[in-house]
């Protein structure tokens, strides 16, 4: 259940961002997590990606639809919804996840700075035969996903 501990930390990072944003944690809803084959399409409109190296290796993506990001930008008082601005927001959320993970996971893990991906996630470095966890997120009726793609360093068998 190592993954559970790690995913809980990532969820906490997401919550921390939205908590800070709205002061209303209850507004953020996380649905039942499910699995997606890495060979299938991953990611919504904009994705903030961080890579993790340590006992578990892999990627954590915060992927969001444009409306959710626009909603956040509106909250910031912005009127410019350009691709760059929307990308900045997912990057910021991924950065919060990364920062939270860094403080909880310790020196055994190395967590990279976030990268922003527009559109489908490039799975160049991912094991296409494996499966990623998808945690559906809803915030003010807009959807996003926390996608966690972890590979154990030790094999199942």
């Amino acid at each position: 259940m190592k993954h559970k501990k790690q995913i809980d930390i990532f969820i906490e990072g997401v919550k921390r961002y939205f908590d800070h944003l709205t002061f209303e944690e209850e507004l953020l809803e996380i649905g039942a997590p499910y699995l997606v084959r890495n060979s299938e399409r991953l990611g919504l409109d904009y994705t903030g990606a961080i890579s993790i190296t340590g006992d578990s290796k892999g990627y954590v993506f915060f992927s969001s639809t444009s409306p959710l990001l626009k909603y956040i930008l509106l909250g910031h008082g912005a009127s410019n919804f350009s691709e760059e601005y929307l990308g900045d927001i997912v990057g910021e959320i991924a950065n919060t996840i990364s920062g939270n993970a860094r403080s909880h996971m310790g020196a055994e893990f190395h967590i990279s700075p976030p990268k922003v991906i527009v559109g489908e996630i490039n799975k160049y470095n991912m094991n296409l035969n494996s499966r990623s966890y998808v945690l559906p997120i809803r915030w003010r009726r807009n959807s996003a996903q926390l996608i966690v793609s972890l590979e154990e360093n030790e094999q199942l068998l």
Partner: protein, 714 residues
């Protein structure tokens, strides 16, 4: 030092010494010749004066002769003549013997060296002879102020006759001296040219020699530089120097840049450089350890023995943002530089591959052990059954995942989701148990336990999506497990290994029934039942009828879980112990029969029957009350028919405690779900202590039908 000078720099010293000798020689010669020229000039002047004096003496004699009558007049001429006579005489004497005379220019006394040249001496000899005649002729005029005719006449005549001769000889002497002077000058010039030429040649020899040496040295340096560059470029080790200030030197191997994926190495502080790749603790250790090498009193071999920087883990972030873990070995070698300063040669080796290989080997050993254990479970399973089971699992897991995914609305009530998942899992667990595949059935059992835990949690609070994460993680593990099984199955097939059961069956040929490939696993239910019976400490005989014909896959896949669940139920709840059965005059082994039949219209009947104790109505009542479905009194009022219907509720079990075979209370509920899949009717007949019978009627015709459950309780 001298040895060094005359060794390495001998050529230079000799060259410079020669240069100085040439220069000094020319200088000395110059000084000497200049002196000679000055002397010669003096002689020329003196000879020139002698020439003039011959004329002046002639003139004075003529004057005295002309004025002889006027004594007071010729006195001045006489005085001049006497001076001229003295000067001439003294000078010619000096020429002949060396001595003093007055300078022609300044009138001062000058020393004159004896004329030594043969030509000069010959001229002087002639002139001296002639001069003696002059002396004889003039000397009477030197005595008194009064000159007589006897004195002046012969003198005047002699001088008139010889003065030109003497003049000519003095002229020749002057020319001789001039010639000698020119010879001196020419010699000096030649000597100067010779000296300067030699000095110049020497200078160019030195110049070319040094240019050659410099060029040779530069070339050697270039070759050395090129060689060291080549070594640093090709060496398969990260190498760099660290000085006493713990700063990295200017040169390093190219491999170092590859190891740390950076070009920023030279001149950096070691601490800052390492901090980018290692945790603070390791950086501190590295710095403390490096400092030890600069302490002269500690033996370097001793320090090397305690090197803590072996197999240290570095985190290297590439420019692409990707992060790699590397295992590195550091080694240190102290160096003493030319200026007597100390430096440390640090070598870095990337040992990631060998460490990963070691880890992989360890893992492989574990893996081989686990694989062997798994092989021992897979080998007895008929490969066709295994294939069907793998497909069933993959499809079942897909359904479980889909069930999770379908909860679009995060505020969903998860009760139904969990119940659906439980049934699916239970069905799969049944199939796994039927194959005695404990590795998978245990995982499914754990998954069931997790679902049950969440269901209980759901009774206390509203479940949120995040709470189901445990299930998703377990589901992923089960996916991986079944994929591993599939992989092993394929490998077994590839190696042509037949399963043990198949071999055993072929060898003994115990059954005369011809079993179609598709139905083989139905006959495997006998082993499954015997396995459970052993665990429950009872005995059973399973008979199958109608399975010699191939079943349609959909029918087989739907009925099989029903059979599995009912066999579980019969053995866990129905079949009595041998002792009880004897009291009831039943056969020692519980009799379980399964049959399938159909008519020409595609109407099927599946009948399952056991000769056990029948439904435990009191147990159902107690369970209903315990689970809070209804009060005890309400439960007490329920008819047997109603009780049987309630037995099909989720999570209702009459068994205390949970094990692999029963207790979840999901078996009958699953049976009903499967019947619904077939759109069939379920009839149940049960006589206490006699039998329980389940009849599933379904049709494969296209006519619409409604699933129905009916109970017949005797």
């Amino acid at each position: 030092m001298l040895k060094q000078l005359f060794g390495k720099y001998r050529f230079l010293v000799i060259s410079i010494a020669l240069f100085l000798i040439f220069d000094i020689g020319v200088l000395v010669l110059n000084i000497y010749t200049s002196g000679k020229i000055a002397e010669q000039t003096e002689l020329i002047n003196l000879a020139g004066r002698q020439r003039t004096l011959t004329q002046q003496m002639s003139k004075a004699t003529q004057y005295i002769r002309a004025q002889k009558l006027q004594q007071w007049v010729y006195q001045s001429g006489l005085a001049e003549l006497r001076d001229q006579f003295d000067v001439f005489g003294a000078t010619i004497k000096a020429f002949n013997e060396g001595g003093q005379t007055t300078s022609a220019e300044t009138g001062a006394i000058v020393s004159v060296a004896k004329v030594e040249t043969p030509e000069g001496r010959a001229i002087l000899a002639e002139a001296t002879t002639l001069w003696r005649g002059f002396e004889q002729a003039i000397s009477p005029l030197m005595i008194d102020v009064l000159i007589t005719d006897e004195e002046i006449e012969p003198a005047s005549e002699f001088i008139a006759a010889n003065n030109l001769k003497l003049f000519d000889q003095m002229n020749r002497l002057t020319e001789h001296f001039t010639h000698e002077s020119e010879k001196q000058t020419t010699f000096l010039r030649m000597a100067q040219i010779g000296g300067i030429t030699l000095a110049t040649i020497n200078f160019f020899v030195i110049l070319f020699h040094f240019l050659k040496q410099l060029r040779g040295r530069d070339r050697r340096l270039e070759i050395k530089q090129h060689e060291s560059d080549q070594i640093l470029d090709t060496i398969n080790e990260g190498v760099f120097l660290v000085d006493e200030n713990l700063s990295i030197g200017g040169q390093h191997s190219r491999h170092l840049e590859e190891v740390f994926d950076t070009k920023r190495v030279s001149g950096r502080r070691l601490s800052r450089f390492l901090s980018a790749y290692f945790p603070e603790k390791i950086v501190k250790t590295a710095l403390e350890y490096t400092r030890l090498y600069f302490q002269s009193h500690i033996n370097p071999d001793l320090i090397a023995d305690v090197n803590p920087l072996k197999r240290v883990k570095a985190t290297v972030a590439q420019s692409s943002g990707e992060v790699f873990e590397k295992y590195l070995d550091f080694s240190f070698a102290p160096l003493r530089q030319e200026n007597d300063k100390r430096a440390i040669l640090v070598s870095v080796n990337d040992v990631t591959d060998s460490i990963l290989l070691e880890e992989q080997e360890e893992k492989n050993e574990d893996q081989v052990e686990r694989q062997l254990a798994l092989f021992s479970q897979i080998l007895p399973i008929n490969p066709d059954d295994l294939e069907v089971f793998i497909d069933e699992c993959l499809s079942g897991f897909e359904q479980l995942n889909q069930t999770l995914k379908n909860n679009k609305n995060v505020t969903d009530n998860y009760d139904q989701t969990l119940a659906r998942m439980f049934r699916e899992t239970h069905k799969l667990k049944g199939s796994a148990s039927a194959l005695s595949f404990s590795w998978i059935s245990n995982q499914l059992h754990d998954f069931e336990s997790s679902i049950e835990g969440l269901q209980k949690q759901g009774e206390r609070k509203i479940l949120r999506g995040q709470d189901l994460l445990t299930l998703t993680i377990q589901l992923r593990q089960m996916y991986e497990s079944i994929e591993t099984v599939s992989d092993l199955g394929d490998r077994l097939k590839a190696y042509g290994i037949k399963h043990i059961a198949a071999q055993a069956a072929n060898a003994l040929d115990v059954s005369n029934e011809k079993q179609p490939v598709e139905n083989k696993r139905w006959f495997g239910l006998r082993d499954f039942a015997e396995g459970i019976a052993k665990e429950e400490n009872v005995a059973v005989d399973v008979s199958l009828r109608g399975f010699s014909e191939a079943l349609e896959p959909h029918i087989g896949e739907t009925l099989y879980p029903i059979a599995v669940q009912l066999i579980r139920n019969s053995i866990a709840h129905g079949v009595e112990s041998r002792k009880t059965r004897q009291c009831l005059r039943k056969p020692n082994s519980g009799q379980i029969s399964l049959s399938i039949s159909h008519d020409s219209l595609g109407n099927y009947r599946f009948v399952y029957e056991d000769d056990g104790r029948g439904f435990d109505y009191d147990g159902i009542r107690a369970s209903l009350a315990a689970r809070g479905v209804m009060s005890k009194s309400s439960a007490a009022k329920l008819s047997k028919n109603e009780l049987v219907q309630n037995a099909f509720r989720d999570n209702l079990s009459t068994r205390e405690g949970v094990d692999q075979n029963a207790g979840r209370g999901v078996g009958l509920s699953l049976v009903w779900e499967q019947v619904k899949l077939l759109e069939g009717n379920l009839k149940i007949r049960s006589v206490e202590n006699e039998f329980t019978q389940f009849i599933v009627d379904f049709s494969m015709s296209e006519e619409p039908k409604e699933p129905l459950i009916s109970r017949h309780v005797a």
